[in-house]
Every structure is written in structure tokens, then in C-alpha cells.
């Protein structure tokens, strides 16, 4: 924890569900890089026959608001036939950690 001038992290979880295909990570990484959002962690699994990928991102230094990020992710989702959501990490912590 040696942050100097960077703001404290604000972690969001991007969730991708659907059918796995080439280029998902690349497309998402491009959206994030353009908005100055750092990718912190990526995981993926097949759950109940569905491809599920989660990407933890830090939006503390983002150049755009969550509504705009969401619009851009929705566009990627439409083009690649995937469901993509972005949610603040605290909702998962509240629901799954006592």
C-alpha cells in the first residue's frame, strides 16, 4: 500500500456471461484503457453450462462516469452477443461476506 498521489481505489466488477469467443478480453481491455481504468484481476469459469468471466477494475482514475462506461460495455455486449454488467464491488461484499 504505497499510494502517493493516486486516489484510493474504487473497485468495480465487470461480469461477462454468454458463449466464450476470441477477443472478449481484448475488446474489454480497449474500453478500459481508453477510459483510463486499470484492470486489477481477471477470472473465468464455466458455471451451469454458461461462460462467466469476471474482471475487477479500478475506476478511481476513470475519465468518464459509470453511466458512460456502462453504455460502452453495452455496445460491446451487443456486438459480441454477451451480457455485460458493471457493479461496484461493495454490493458483492455486502451480499456474500458477513
Amino acid at each position: 500500500m504505497t499510494q502517493k498521489k493516486s486516489p484510493s481505489p474504487q473497485i468495480c466488477i465487470v461480469t461477462v456471461t454468454g458463449v466464450d469467443k476470441v477477443g472478449i478480453v481484448a475488446r474489454l481491455a480497449t474500453v478500459m484503457a481508453r477510459a483510463n481504468i486499470n484492470i486489477v484481476d481477471i477470472n473465468q469459469k464455466i458455471l451451469e453450462d454458461t461462460f462467466v468471466m469476471t474482471m475487477a477494475v479500478d475506476i478511481a482514475g476513470a475519465k468518464i462516469g459509470m453511466d458512460k462506461i456502462k453504455t460502452r460495455l453495452d455496445a460491446v455486449g451487443r456486438q459480441m452477443a454477451l451480457k455485460i454488467t458493471i457493479q461496484d464491488e461493495n454490493i458483492f461484499k455486502a451480499m456474500h461476506r458477513v
Binding site: T15, Q44, L47, T54, K83
Partner: protein, 453 residues
């Protein structure tokens, strides 16, 4: 500890596939300081406050939806009971109707879905101003769109105001006949032991024991609970209760987080999370289907009351563990018209009015959104109300009635309201009239609290 893919996926599926939402964020607003002997002066102050706070509520709700990705379906306002605000004003219907229209216009301007609190606490007796408000209800609610009414007609401490209950049969019939399909009656609920912080309509109001503002939140996930029950088809009922508790814990925690953050963002105190399961007409978002997933063939069959009691208990335990601010109604809504499973059961003849009443003895919120034939006598409507409120009074719990006399319709017909209100099969009212009992009026004494065997 990083959140796992499984945990994220569980949450995402709740919203994407199982209709989990924040059903309502309801801002309670104290309007006592707006009271004036001049109606125009009061209306001016009330309007400014509702528009300002309503717009703030919408802005903050939008931000929270983007941040957490959980839909907030309704944004509502609950006010100090209108009867209190009208006390010093002339006791004419025109005054009440003018005030209702002003509230309606302010609510529309703020782009708020509904405003609740157009009612009175008359469980023990009725003041002249309250009587005037009650008499004006048919006109006030039929000439406005977004105003919801409530009346507390009974309580465990005071007993039952049978004068007001007898009058309500006539008032509700009048209101029904002024609107298409009687839908005006969907905007008013009558109560025993009404909570002061209920965020759900039609019964929300900002009670006199509340602070200036209070942000209350209603979560809802019948679809989520149904899914988890369906995934456990063979476990015993002790385990089933555990599974439901765990799920309700999770959705309540989400509600608590969102409520707290909404309140902080608005700069108002956080009130309560109401953990009631509230069905909608969307396929799968049904309380009846939870009971059926438990193994009862169709809701209304023998076994339904026991299954609902188990569900209610598990919901309360899971919710109470998740939040120290559980309040409001925190029961399970079983409205007929707003739940596909309930509609099916009435149409199939499995669910009768009598069984519906039995179900309400183990869950709030009472007899909700059900239609009766248009020629049902006012005294019979009052008797249905008296029966339901007696269950609440005797059992120290909230019960309510939202009854829709269907003009020109008979048992077996279907009323289509459209939208969130769904459609209601007109239910048969059995037996003979209790008119002589209702016309006796008076106050039914409060029940004894000792000798509890």
C-alpha cells in the same frame, strides 16, 4: 478476500434472470411545519418541498442504479397523514380535493411514481376533519393519478373503530364506481396496526413518530426465493428454511447497503429496510409459485398456510440477521391481481376468499388487490374489512385490506387493470349478509393481553 466468480455470478443472475430489484425507495417527509389556516399558503410550502426532495430522490436513485447495477423500480414519497395537515382548514370536500390535486401536481412535477399518506389514523375515533377527509376520498382519489390513501381503522391497543369501518363499505363502493373497472380502489388500503415507516404503496405514510425525513427501502425477490426453493426439491423443511434464510440474508444486505448510501447521498436519515416479498406480474416473480415449488400443488390447497408460515418465518430470520433496521411491513404480499400464480389459483377454483383470509393470518399484509362482484352490499365490504382487521388486532400484527368492488361484474369475470396492477378474477363472496352486525357500529374493545392460553 476477493469475491469469487461463483459469488458474482449468483448476484448477477438474481437481477438478470430472477427479477431481484429494489422495489421502492420511499422518502418520508414531515409536513407538519407546513400547516396553515390558509390553504393556498400551505399548498405553496408543501409543493416546494415535494418537488425539491422528489427531484433529489430521483437524481440520487439514478446514481445508485448505475453504481450497483441493481434496478430501483419505484421512487416514492410518503407524507405526514393528510388529515393532520387539514385540521385547521375549512371542513369542506372542496378543500380536501384541492389539496389532493396540489399534491398530485407536485408529485408529477418531481417525476415521482406515487405519493402516499393521504389518509388518517382513526383506530379509536374520528375528528371532524378526519371525517371530512374520509367523505372526500372518492372524489379526491378519482380525480388524481399518483396519490395513495390509507386509513388505520383498528389497533391492538385501541380496538376497532366500527363506525369508520361501516362507513368504508360505502366510500369504497363510491370510489370504485367513479373509475374504470373500480381501479380507483387500488390506490387505498385500510389497516389494523399500520406501521409508520412502510415504504410500500398504497399504505405508505410518514408517521407522527418519525423525524423530518426518513429514507425507507423496500427490497423484493420472490423470483430469487422461488429459484432457490426449486433448486432444492428434495431437502426436508428444516433445510429448506435454512436455504431461504441464506438467500433472504443476501438480498437484504444489498437493500441495506443501497438504502444507507441513498440516505447519505441525499443527506437524510436512513430509516428501514422492508423485507417483504412483493410479487409482480412478470413471469416467475410470484409468491404463489414459491409455495408451489415447496410442494403444494396449487396455492389455496391444504398445506398452503403451513408453507406460507414457513416461508414468512425464514424471510424474517434471514432479514433480521442481515440488517438491524428491518421494519415497515416486512411480511409477504399475496395480492391476487399482481401475482400470476394467485390469479391461476383463483381461476381454477383452488383459492377462495376464505382461504385467502386464512393465508393472511400467517403473513402480512392482508387481503390485497382482490375483486368482488359490483353488487356486493356496502355492509358486506365492511364485514370483509372487519374480519381481516380483527385478525391483525387479535394477533398483534399488521393486516390490511385493498378490495376492489368491480362495477357491473359478477364472480368469475376478469378485470384487466394493465401494467403493474395486473388483472383480477372477481371472487365469490359466500354466505349471507352481516349487515345487522355492521350497522350496530360502535367500537370493538381492544383484546385482552393476558390469559393467553
Amino acid at each position: 478476500m476477493r469475491i469469487s466468480v461463483e459469488e458474482v455470478y449468483e448476484t448477477v443472475r438474481m437481477t438478470l434472470d430472477h427479477h431481484f430489484d429494489i422495489r421502492t425507495v420511499t422518502l418520508g417527509i414531515n409536513l407538519k411545519d407546513c400547516i396553515d389556516r390558509d390553504l393556498a399558503a400551505m399548498v405553496q410550502r408543501v409543493r416546494e418541498r415535494i418537488v425539491e426532495k422528489g427531484q433529489l430522490l430521483n437524481r440520487c436513485a439514478d446514481r445508485i442504479v448505475h453504481k450497483y447495477g441493481i434496478p430501483i423500480t419505484n421512487r416514492r414519497i410518503a407524507i405526514t397523514p393528510a388529515s393532520l395537515l387539514l385540521e385547521p382548514l375549512p371542513r369542506t370536500k372542496a378543500t380536501v380535493v384541492r389539496f389532493a390535486k396540489a399534491l398530485d401536481a407536485a408529485t408529477r412535477k418531481a417525476d415521482i411514481d406515487f405519493l402516499g399518506g393521504f389518509g388518517a389514523m382513526v383506530q379509536k375515533g374520528t375528528t371532524a376533519a378526519e371525517e371530512n377527509l374520509i367523505e372526500a376520498i372518492p372524489e379526491a382519489l378519482s380525480k388524481t393519478q399518483r396519490i395513495c390513501g390509507f386509513l388505520n381503522l383498528a389497533s391492538t391497543h385501541a380496538g376497532m373503530n366500527m363506525n369508520a369501518i361501516a362507513r368504508m363499505g360505502h366510500i369504497l363502493r363510491d370510489l370504485a364506481f367513479r373509475s374504470d373497472n373500480g381501479v380507483g380502489c387500488a390506490k387505498i388500503a385500510v389497516f389494523a396496526n399500520v406501521p409508520e415507516d412502510n415504504p410500500f404503496m398504497a399504505g405508505a405514510h410518514h408517521g407522527i413518530g418519525e423525524p423530518d425525513y426518513s429514507l425507507n427501502i423496500g427490497i423484493s425477490g420472490p423470483g430469487v426465493v422461488r429459484n432457490v426453493v426449486a433448486k432444492n426439491p428434495d431437502c426436508d423443511l428444516t433445510q429448506l428454511s435454512e436455504v431461504i434464510k441464506r438467500t433472504v440474508f443476501k438480498i437484504t444486505r444489498a437493500g441495506e447497503l443501497i438504502g444507507r448510501e441513498m440516505a447519505a447521498l441525499m443527506g437524510v436519515p436512513f430509516g428501514i429496510v422492508d423485507i417483504s416479498l412483493a410479487p409482480t406480474t412478470s413471469t416467475g416473480d410470484s409468491v404463489a409459485e414459491i409455495i408451489e415449488a415447496m410442494g403444494v400443488g396449487q396455492i389455496g390447497s391444504p398445506g398452503s398456510t403451513a408453507a406460507l408460515a414457513l416461508l414468512m418465518d425464514a424471510v424474517k430470520k434471514g432479514g433480521a440477521m442481515a440488517s438491524g433496521n428491518v421494519g415497515g411491513l416486512s411480511g409477504t404480499f399475496i395480492p391476487v391481481s399482481e401475482d400470476e400464480g394467485m390469479i391461476r389459483a383463483v381461476r381454477a377454483g383452488t383459492l377462495s376468499l376464505e382461504k385467502l383470509e386464512a393465508l393472511t393470518s400467517v403473513c402480512s399484509v392482508g387481503l390485497d388487490m382482490f375483486a368482488v362482484p359490483g353488487d356486493t352490499e356496502p355492509e358486506v365490504i365492511s364485514a370483509i374489512i372487519a374480519d381481516e382487521l380483527a385478525i391483525g388486532v387479535a394477533n398483534h400484527k399488521t393486516t390490511s385490506v385493498r378490495i376492489i368492488p368491480a362495477p357491473g361484474r359478477k364472480a368469475g369475470d376478469i378485470l384487466h387493470f394493465g401494467g403493474l396492477l395486473g388483472s383480477a378474477p372477481v371472487m365469490k363472496v359466500s354466505g349471507t349478509s352481516a349487515a345487522r352486525f355492521i350497522r350496530r357500529q360502535g367500537r370493538m374493545p381492544s383484546p385482552i393481553s393476558s390469559l393467553r392460553n
